[in-house]
Amino acid sequence: MAYTEEELKKELETKEYEYGFYTDIESDTFPAGLNEEIVIAISKRKEEPEWMTLWRLESFKIWKEMVEPEWPNVKYEKPDFQAISYYSAPNSKPKYDSLDEVDPELLDTFNRLGISLDEQKKLAGVAVDIVMDSVSVATTFKKTLAEKGIIFCSISEAIREHPELVKKYIGSVVPQKDNFYAALNSAVFSDGSFCYIPKGVRCPMELSTYFRINQAGTGQFERTLVIADEDSYVSYLEGCTAPSRDENQLHAAVVELIALDGAEIKYSTVQNWFPGNKEGKGGVYNFVTKRGICEKNAKISWTQVETGSAVTWKYPSCILKGDNSIGEFYSVAVTNNHQQADTGTKMIHLGKNTKSTIISKGISAGKSQNSYRGLVQVSSRAENARNFSQCDSLLMGNDCGAHAFPYIEVKNKSAMIEHEATTSKIGEDQIFYCNQRGIDTEKAIALIVNGFSKEVLNKLPMEFAVEAQKLLEISLEGSVG
């Protein structure tokens, strides 16, 4: 294990959300409310070309017509979209050339989050594009990447500097009218990451972005676009933490992945937004649309560790359009206290010889509700489609719930589809065995949970795997009766 028992013990002692601090930086914030002027103002503030402004306005028009979805298996107070401020940017200098120029207070925040820029630069070989309240403030390793022709920057920069790429691909996987939150995001997205890997290039390092919600009452509308050109490879990491807030914060992101012929994209997420306190007060609403499209021989792999947010609503999906394409989904979703998660994936098999794997592990504790919702669809022309799905749920305590809604729709006879799901609790015999070997119950549970999630955690890049394991422990602390 990458961390010692002492570390774990220390983690367990800190009962409150440890990342729940608030950095006092003067922010440039728009008044609350949403109308066409705000959309135009956001676009203007980002110095966007006209086509982008029009695209946003079109999205806003679509959004106005739509109604908030009711079907997810979650209960929450509907956010008041007119009470949210749609743009907030740290009011420091707009650009930094080196880390020294960055506001020390900001740097301190990152350090407390455990993202040491210097350390990561040296040790992990990770280029970090840190997004704090919507504006990208630090980009490292840009040079190394530029040498290979890799574009890794904020989406607003990409709109300005690589409009042809953005114009071609934005909205191509998640159209504006895809769903309520995708439409909202398309209209008001403030910033996000953009990544382009040229033909035949293997990205030498893991690309990563950290998102934080900082300003009170500001929603975060991230837009991420990753394009892997023919025969390229990229591994993209995304991690989230957010400060403690009493009012609910809304996070409606859109992530689009495009894997062209023979390309491979690995997208890993550790999500740890503020889950609300023990009584279920506060916490982030996480309504995210993530989708990737695979052309011929391409592969997209989603890995996620979901431990935070009061309400999660998220289905990273793969459209297997090209022949021989592969889609993967590995997920651990942990809910504790009053958290609710409705998460899963969609695998749409369109091409021939397409393969997909779904491994979903749900752990519910406290008074939480954890749902898996998935779709495996095989169209009539998708010869030899292959899918394997496994959804396991672990229940801790009898006030929580685990649910599974797997949809399987098959229209081709050559498809081979397997789905299995189990629900169980941690066996008393397993705990007894650990106790008898001198491992106390709390540690035993940590051990068992880690083992239960191992198949997924193994898929995470090293740096993330460590963080994810820690998160699992923190999320489940005190849930053992």
Binding site: L395, I408, V410, H419, E420, T423, K425
Partner: protein
């Protein structure tokens, strides 16, 4: 006039024909109100996502048969389990046929819903059981409740067991252009009883038939009920079969559903485990082709602790057939030590066939063992080759493999004659002449 309006407007005429003073009158009136509010379910509803009733609603169904038809026993003998002695409750176009039936009042009541609903001696039972477990929200169930008049009524008092299995048969003849019928069955098995039932709907006409059936089953303490539904109907017949089962301590209810034919078949099989140490078993075999549609919706609601449920559904689909399996298991918070198992295996034989399956678990208790498995695939080429290399023609080899695939369910049929009968139906469907008594 669409079907909904027609049904609602004929309700008054229907009510005038039956006893308005009876306590069931209020239940009927309430039910038609609810149906009027909600109407027929549309595909926008999650539970009806894959099954559309639109085409049915366009047919001009006759709601009350105008003429009474008679059937000759020899013409319909093949639909009866004539190899064994059974009690029979037979309906022709929704009307009881005393000539073809064999009912009893000898210790147990195997008779008619119409008499149970009207005769004072049954009032006490009707007050306790009628419409108690059936859904008050499901639109089609409400529709049936509103028009509930005829069907099978079976009452088995404590410690009694009927001497022979009971057959419930519904025939539809061709005298009406298109006929809608709504049989309502009530089956009560009290403490320590045992009971076997075979149910069949058979259309004898090429006209459209729409059956919207509701069956309420109450299994008392330690009661054992073995229920077989044989659905091998004409291609113009549609069936919505709603079954609601209430189980008390130690009872076992085992339902087999064999869906081999019909234009549209929708089975809503609902179990409510209102006791402890209850065992619920749901098994089904579906073999369809052409443009047939079969939809299995099962619900097992584990309400009390220490219960078991077991589901095993097999399906084979050819040509343009479409099929749905939606299995829902709900485990309440207090239903600890629940053991729920669900399996659904499907074979697609054609690229135009569709299967939509959704095994659904909703679990609120922690000390439970719940699992479900679901597969979609095709016949094993190697197995097929092996059989062919042994001199078995391709067609027969395929049939053998399909039979083997369904055998897990078939082998649990406890009436040997019925098993033989089903084997014959399968052989005929697969176009082979094998006795499948392997």
């Amino acid at each position: 006039m669409d079907l909904k309006e027609k049904l609602v407007s004929s309700f008054l005429a229907f009510e005038n024909n039956v006893d308005v003073e009876h306590s069931v009158h209020d239940i009927r009136t309430e039910a038609i109100k609810k149906f009027e509010e909600k109407g027929f379910p549309s595909r926008k509803e999650e539970e009806w996502k894959y099954t559309s009733l639109n085409t049915l609603q366009k047919v001009d169904f006759s709601i009350f048969p105008k003429t009474e038809s008679d059937l000759d026993y020899k013409d319909v003998k093949r639909y009866f389990m004539h190899e064994i002695d059974t009690y029979k409750i037979v309906f022709i176009d929704g009307i009881y046929s005393s000539y073809l039936s064999e009912t009893t009042h000898d210790g147990v009541d195997v008779c008619l819903m119409s008499s149970a609903l009207t005769k004072p001696m049954y009032k006490a039972v009707i007050d306790v059981y009628f419409n108690k477990i059936a859904s008050k929200d499901d639109s089609l169930t409400n529709l049936n409740t509103a028009f509930s008049k005829e069907g099978a009524y079976i009452y088995i008092p404590k410690n009694k067991t009927p001497k022979k299995p009971i057959e419930i048969l519904h025939f539809t003849t061709g005298t009406e252009a298109a006929l809608m019928s709504q049989p309502r069955n009530l089956i009560i098995a009290e403490e320590n009883t045992e009971l076997q039932i075979i149910e069949r709907h058979q259309s004898l006409t090429s006209n459209d038939v729409f059956t919207n059936a509701v069956t309420e089953i109450f299994a008392g303490k330690n009661a054992i009920i073995d229920y077989y539904k044989v659905q091998n109907d004409a291609l113009t017949a549609s069936l919505v079969d709603n079954t609601y089962i209430d189980q008390k301590d130690g009872s076992t209810v085992d339902v087999h559903t064999f869906s081999f034919g019909g234009k549209l078949t929708r089975n809503n099989l609902n179990y409510y485990q209102n006791g402890e140490r209850v065992n619920s078993t749901l098994r089904g075999v579906t073999i369809i082709e052409g443009k047939q549609h079969v939809d299995h919706h099962t619900l097992v609601h584990h309400i009390k602790p220490n219960n078991e449920s077991y589901q095993d559904y097999k399906g084979i689909y050819d040509e343009n057939a479409t099929a749905v399996f939606n299995g829902k298991i709900i485990v309440d918070q207090i239903a600890q030590k629940t053991n729920a198992f669900q399996q659904n295996n499907n074979i697609l034989l054609s690229d135009k066939a569709t299967i939509n399956t959704k095994p659904q678990l909703e679990i609120f208790a922690d000390d439970v063992k719940c699992s479900h498995g679901c597969t979609i695939g095709q016949l094993d080429e190697e197995a097929l080759f092996y059989l062919q290399s042994r001199g078995i023609p391709k067609k027969e080899a395929k049939a053998l493999l399909m039979y083997a695939f369904a055998n897990n369910v078939l082998s649990t049929v406890r009436i040997p004659e019925l098993k033989t009968r089903i084997n014959k139906i399968i052989a005929k469907k697969l176009g082979v002449n094998i006795g499948f008594d392997l």
